[in-house]
């Protein structure tokens, strides 16, 4: 069974017991440190308190409490250790080094990593402040922000992440894929939007906007732009949160 199927099965199980805010992702290793970097990016993206379960295809697992882009506590870690179950401190060089050893051991040789997040049962102390994902990345010699990708590559990474979830996709200056009626709708939408916006270029590095264009519509229209690369999507409304998460991962990752 693939990691993605395992993840879907676990999410279904969580949904069946009423955990409605569970979400999960599977990442594949694309070379040394890619899974470690991906995990740090997911930690950095997590502002609201979340309990993270990390599992690899080799059966190793960890459970983490994360908030405000910081690792607040390790609840479980393959191999255990003195740092499990205690509030972690920021700016602790020795701790950061120990964490690197533990997380590298967790992901060593893995080809896939699945992360599953749920809101914690207990309230997290708003003053809790473990090491930030940025501090860990710096201590571990991993670059969180990548400057080596073009905007087109970022948009392609987004499309790869949402593959199988969209009804139709239309890249500006490229080809459209998916349902032909939805592609026609997207084309008309893009043309109307171009007329509305005229020559006013958006100066922000990226933008993401979803619109539901009728109260009864089951699909939403998404425009996602990075730099000069833009894609328009038609997506079932119930997948909105997943699509938004995928965009943030593509932009950060």
């Amino acid at each position: 069974m693939t990691g993605r199927k395992t993840l879907e099965r676990r999410l279904e199980a969580l949904a069946s017991v009423g955990v409605s805010k569970a979400s999960g992702r599977t990442a594949r290793s694309l070379g040394p440190d890619t899974l470690l970097r991906r995990l740090l990016i997911e930690l950095d993206m997590t502002i609201m308190p979340r309990r993270f379960t990390v599992e690899t295809d080799l059966g190793r697992a960890a459970s983490l409490l994360v908030a405000n882009g910081r690792l607040i506590r390790i609840e479980n870690m393959v191999g255990g250790g003195d740092d499990v179950g205690v509030e972690l401190k920021p700016n602790d060089t020795d701790l950061n080094a120990r964490l690197e050893t533990q997380f590298r051991a967790l992901l060593e040789g893995a080809k896939e990593m699945t992360t599953l997040t749920v809101p914690p049962k207990d309230t997290v102390d708003s003053q809790a402040a473990g090491p930030s994902a940025h501090a860990l990345a710096q201590a571990w010699g991993i670059a969180l922000e990548r400057s080596d990708r073009t905007s087109a590559e970022i948009v392609d990474a987004f499309l790869d992440e949402v593959k199988g979830q969209v009804v139709a996709a239309l890249k500006v200056g490229g080809e459209g894929t998916g349902d032909s009626d939805k592609l026609e709708e997207l084309t008309a939408f893009v043309e109307a939007r171009s007329e509305l916006e005229g020559a006013e270029a958006d100066q922000t590095p990226w933008s993401f906007l979803s619109l539901r264009r009728a109260s009864t519509a089951s699909d939403i229209t998404v425009s996602a732009r990075h730099g000069d690369a833009t894609v328009y999507l038609s997506v079932p409304r119930e997948r909105l949160t997943k699509i938004a998460d995928a965009w943030r991962i593509a932009v950060l990752g």
Binding site: M45, I47, L209, R213, A244
Partner: protein, 112 residues
Amino acid sequence: MAILKNLEALRLGHPGIEAIAYVDLGSETVLGKTSAINEPQEEFDALSATASEIIGGATGEADEAVRLQATKSLIIRRAPLAPSEAVCVVCAPDIDVLSVLNHVTVALEANA
């Protein structure tokens, strides 16, 4: 304004929600608001104008919208029975946007 009670309950029930405004899209004015911190009125006025622009004003065809930003998300839902009015939610970037949209819809329907 009864809707504000529903919206305040929504904000208090979702730790990731910073502020909610009920706005008139035509005049771009704030009809009511609830916020965790005391933000200046100008910020809500700007929010109202942004919401109107995104959703297409009082007569636009869009019914709901989500705009992601680096540090926050903006969620807009047009009131079904008063299409020139809308709810605007400012929240954490990693919030479950669909869940918030659905809760806003319920709050609006409870007010109908």
